[in-house]
Subunit: 701 residues, 2 copies
């Protein structure tokens, strides 16, 4: 990865023991830091003179030492940094990393040393705790992180419930004061830890807040390494939020060895919702790529043997229903096939043919390997083998066939949450991939974690994810992780981490549906940590089409599904529907074939959280622009100002839009494809149906 650096770095040292403050490069943000009468450190943040965060405490309590009070500020260091760096892939070819830094060095009356390092950008700020080597503590068993994010008023929040093991929830929109009640009244929380009393007032990050005076505020964390994930406990009386770290089941939230820097706690803020979407703050707070040669990292589109299992006819990941498979008999050649197992040679061959015919890069196959019959993972040492194909999956044949067709097979490693056993098999599993021409793997952690003292977001699983991604890099393997700790911008450091699930994805369209507002809030929240494998591209949205008692409707029009390729950008983008459904709508499918997965530049044109998004993106590998928009379940007219186009150039726009009578519920497959000449002076009003969207390709004339 080449990097252009324009660094102006200066370091200042002040020995003042008074409050410290620092501004963003453009002066819009003002951060104050001080200690109160009890010696408790706190900070507050203003944006254009408006309070974003009012006095909010800082600190960390461990078994061995309390870094919480009786502090005084010893000194402060300031610095400025400005660089432009170039990600391997993403929404932008150039990312400006420009901030002023304030390090507040403190000591308390126990002689404990702590530095809080703040970086203030034009679009927000991050801060972290830095614990230097010190005499009084070498190790910290973390019991509590004090960090607060206190709002000045009862902001509106979009958030999902606090949970140590899953984030696959719909977002709830409510005033902070009403959020706990709103969350607890919802159905559908399904993790083992969901109703832990200690999580009653908790929400997860990234969350979005909006103040009545028009500020948009995203709160999350960056560079989650060697530390548990952060939830936030809501203080409904005082409009506050306080860090709540995921503990292990023995009650410890993390084991730290000094020196240690925590992840960054991040606040993205703007009075323009579009700037929240455009912000690269979380990536900027992560370390540059640890992978030197990134030439093997290749963004991709893919189809998969996957949606078949959701759409009906009782198709299964499992090869057999033979009860003898349940207790772990692994001689699969002796089992009776159930005949409903799509990961078979003949069917996969059809997917390869389809991908080859339409220029789709890869084919994911789920259910290819032994172990799916018996979902007893938590109660045994091993459920899945990652080098044992089912008898009806002729891997050598398919490997060679795919290669001949120029298509990549994509590996699937469902671990059933037995991370410990996955580590035992990892080298063998990755070597098996390389031996068989697989370059990318979708990983999964469905179930309760082994080691059994851990949660999906406790320190162990954060470490495990790092272990897997680093080992994958050693093997030149790309990862798309599901049920992993939610992303915090580590894709900058590990650009082989193409995507994660870590939210309620498209699969839920077959399980109750995702209201249109869901994909209009995810870009403001979940996506700030990194791309999501949302699995867009659903053309057959009425599931009764599949018969066999299948009911339910995906809450989307067909045209909106095209828009998601731009509003939910990812370098690993699925075309989720069945090949035969794409064959029924070849003109609409053309957009999925055309749309890139990495970008030279992006312009957010319109945005309001959970309501609508309109975005334009420039293909990384051509001069084509793409524009897309979505709305919630209200119809809307997007207004597209094409002034982002180079003045004087002419483009022909191919517009995939909802038909005038389209509606997600009653008429989802009504779309129009039209063309239109466009220049930088064009302004286009584009109708969007309830639950709808549009997608435009702009080609230079």
């Amino acid at each position: 990865m080449k990097k252009s650096l324009f660094i102006s770095l200066f370091v200042g040292l002040s020995l003042s023991v008074f409050a410290a403050d620092i501004k963003s490069p453009n002066g819009n943000l003002l951060l104050n830091v001080d200690v109160n009468a009890q010696g408790q450190p706190y900070y507050n943040l203003n944006y254009k003179g408006k309070p974003v965060i009012v006095d909010s405490k800082l600190g960390l309590a461990a078994k061995e030492a309390k870094f919480t009070d009786n502090f005084k500020i010893l000194s402060t260091d300031t610095a400025s940094f400005n660089e432009t760096w170039h990600p391997v892939w993403g929404e932008y070819q150039d990312i400006v990393n420009h901030y002023n830094q304030l390090s507040v060095n403190m000591e308390n009356t126990d002689g404990l040393l702590m530095t809080v390092c703040f970086r203030v950008f034009d679009d927000g700020m991050g801060f972290r705790y830095e614990f230097p080597i010190q005499d009084k503590a070498n190790y910290l068993a973390v019991l509590d992180e004090v960090t607060e994010f206190n709002f000045p008023a009862d902001n509106t929040l979009w958030a999902i419930p606090g949970d140590y093991d899953t984030d696959e929830f719909l977002f709830t929109e409510a005033r902070l004061s009403e959020m706990p009640n709103a969350l607890n009244s919802k159905k559908g929380r399904h993790s083992e830890s969901q109703w832990a009393p200690e999580l009653a007032n908790a929400v997860q990050t990234p969350l979005l807040a909006k103040s009545d005076d028009g500020l948009y505020i995203n709160v999350h964390e960056a560079a989650l390494i060697g530390y548990p994930a952060m939830q936030l406990d809501l203080d409904t009386a005082n409009y506050g939020m306080k860090a709540h770290l995921t503990p292990d089941k023995l009650g410890v939230r993390g084991y730290l060895q000094l020196p240690f820097n925590t992840p960054w706690r991040t606040i993205i803020v703007s009075d323009d919702a579009r700037e929240i979407l455009a912000s690269q703050l979380i990536l900027n707070l992560n370390e540059p790529s640890k992978i030197e040669d990134t030439s093997w990292i290749k963004p991709m589109k893919f189809i998969g043997v996957w949606w078949e299992m959701f759409t009906g006819k009782e198709k299964t990941w499992a090869y057999s229903d033979d009860f003898r498979a349940k207790p772990g008999i692994t001689d699969y050649t002796k089992l009776k096939p159930n005949g409903r197992h799509p990961a078979n040679t003949e069917n996969v061959k059809k997917y390869i043919d389809f991908a080859a015919a339409h220029g789709i890069d890869g084919v994911l196959v789920e259910g290819w390997n032994e172990g799916w019959e018996d979902w007893g993972s938590y109660r045994k040492n091993r459920q899945f083998l990652f080098d044992k194909p089912y008898p009806d999956f002729d891997l050598p044949y398919l490997r060679d066939y795919a290669k001949e067709k120029g298509v990549k097979l994509i590996m699937h490693h469902e671990t059933a949450a037995n991370a410990m056993d996955y580590e035992r098999q990892l080298d063998k599993a990755f070597q098996f991939m390389k031996d068989n021409n697989y370059d990318a793997v979708k990983t999964g952690y469905v179930g309760a974690i082994i080691p059994r003292s851990e949660h999906h977001t406790s320190q162990y699983m954060v470490d495990h994810a790092q272990y897997v991604i680093e080992k994958a890099a050693d093997y030149e393997i790309m990862i798309d992780s599901h049920e992993a700790p939610r992303p915090t911008g580590l894709i900058r450091t590990y650009p082989n981490w193409l995507a994660q699930e870590s939210a309620r994805g498209g699969e839920f369209e077959s399980m109750g549906g995702n209201p249109p507002s869901h994909t209009a809030i995810l870009p403001f929240t979940r996506l700030k940590g990194g791309p999501m494998d949302y699995t867009p591209g659903l053309f057959q949205t009425d599931l009764s089409y599949y018969g066999e008692g299948k009911t339910g409707k995906a809450m989307t029009t067909l045209a909106r599904q095209l828009a998601l390729y731009l509003t939910m950008p990812s370098p690993m983008q699925m075309a989720a529907d069945l090949p035969e459904n794409y064959e029924r709508f070849p003109d609409a499918f053309q957009f999925i074939k055309d749309v890139p997965v990495e970008w030279k530049d992006s312009k957010y044109l319109e945005a309001e959280p959970a309501r609508y998004i309109t975005v334009a993106r420039l293909d990384k590998n051509s001069d084509d622009w793409y524009v897309a928009g979505i709305t919630d379940d209200n119809a809307r007219d997007a207004v597209i100002d094409f002034s982002f186009l180079p003045a004087g150039s002419k483009y022909v726009a191919t517009i995939y839009a909802d038909a005038p009578d389209a509606h997600w519920e009653t008429n989802p497959q009504a779309y129009t494809i039209t063309t239109k000449d466009v220049t930088s002076k064009t302004k286009l009003k584009q109708h969007i149906a309830p639950g709808g969207g549009f997608a435009i390709r702009l080609q230079p004339k």
Copy 2:
């Protein structure tokens, strides 16, 4: 491994629902099995008409199903088995495995199926629970194992305290009714779980009992695979003992997937104490070797850079005292060496020279690798690296030097109990060994286990030990494990598992001492599971010799240390003392040089638990016999009847004995070396000093 099989196998099937019984091949043991009025299965065992175990319940309770009561016997199967097999190494070249088997097939009113399989040998019995595939339960999260071992009277026991994490205790001799009080009054219990209230009445196995009517009874388990280790809760009122499985820290004692067979619960019984020592019952209940080509498994004697760290002058495993090393700075070249680090090139070279000069096979080096400065393992992800020598340990040089001298370096892997990280490093660590000509490794697990929900003897660590031994076999590596779950005869299945510590070993002579009775009870208890790396061979027993304020005396004469090579047989036998101490006593050291570590045959001549042992062994690779005897802290005259020698043959005996005025405390280094002609008709009275012993080599004339 070649095997001679003389099998006479017949299978009988009975549909009786009545009590079942079966006898040992010689008829001395009689086992009865039945269910009581509550449908609880139970058994009892008699030896020559005397009750050994009175009615004792059987069963297992899991979260999902209770296999404890409302049972009826459906049927019984009987079989007989007789083979002679040949271990790769050990006390005997031929081991007879001869038993009658009774399988009691039961079903309870919940429809749960359980078979209890009993094998009755001439020297005891074993039984295990066999849970077949069944409709009502696929998985068991074990909460309790009901198994009882109830004595008819208040037998004398020799036992160590129940503990989930350590077995490095002295044995306590007490009546069963008095044992809990006797144990709890002892000092020196040091594990984190030692005072868990639930362990207040618990002891560990193997334990030995002696009845007032002269029966010796060893209780233990065999083939501990995929299951937690067993402790025993004492019922002081009823002279009973009940299984107490080591739980994980979440309270579950094991996760089983059916079909599953538990380890064997074993009872070795005889009215002759020598037969307890000679019993191979626990090995017989283990599976044959899983390793086909065992030619690379080579028993050995070794010396080690090790005792130096115990004897004084503050020598350390660590390379540096630099405080900067503590917080994990790993650029050791920048640290100041402490100058008290014996694992350095020059010193190790001396050990290699000594080994080469005296025909000692290997040199163990502890403290060779990075990580010893900072004993914070439980609080961090990684303490030790297994491929990073300290700067003062020139591994390539020493590797080549040792090879040139015909000496093997022995690897040391102290994991600081982070089993999880050891698994991550294992392939790399073993490959590093092979790349550097190491064939054997001493492993260690000092500290609290990671994963943090586990104990040293919970199911996870049992599985971990199996994982390590199997991977070691893949690399053709031999293991000497310390702080691992105590052995249960798995050396038969994995003959590369040369030895374990798993008891209070010779190192404690520098930490309070081991009373002479300790090595007179270990062969009746701990050693029934497999060989111990006890580290005999201490010549300089008065530690004040080392000056620098070092005090304390090993509770042994020098001659006794020679005897331990026979009374504590192991295929991996250390000469524990410093080379310079051996050079002071070259005539006595000659015995250590001569004594073999594997045997064609063994004859126990005299034995009384914790009092005395006299044993004769025939070298596997020559016609030399060796005889040794030890006593407790009372002087004793052993009477050696040489009738085990072939009639008519003449031998010259070289006798290493305590001098008449020897005493462990006042005159430990007073020994005599004499020679004497011996035939099968010779009877020799041999004096043994308090804490003393003797060792004889018999060479054919």
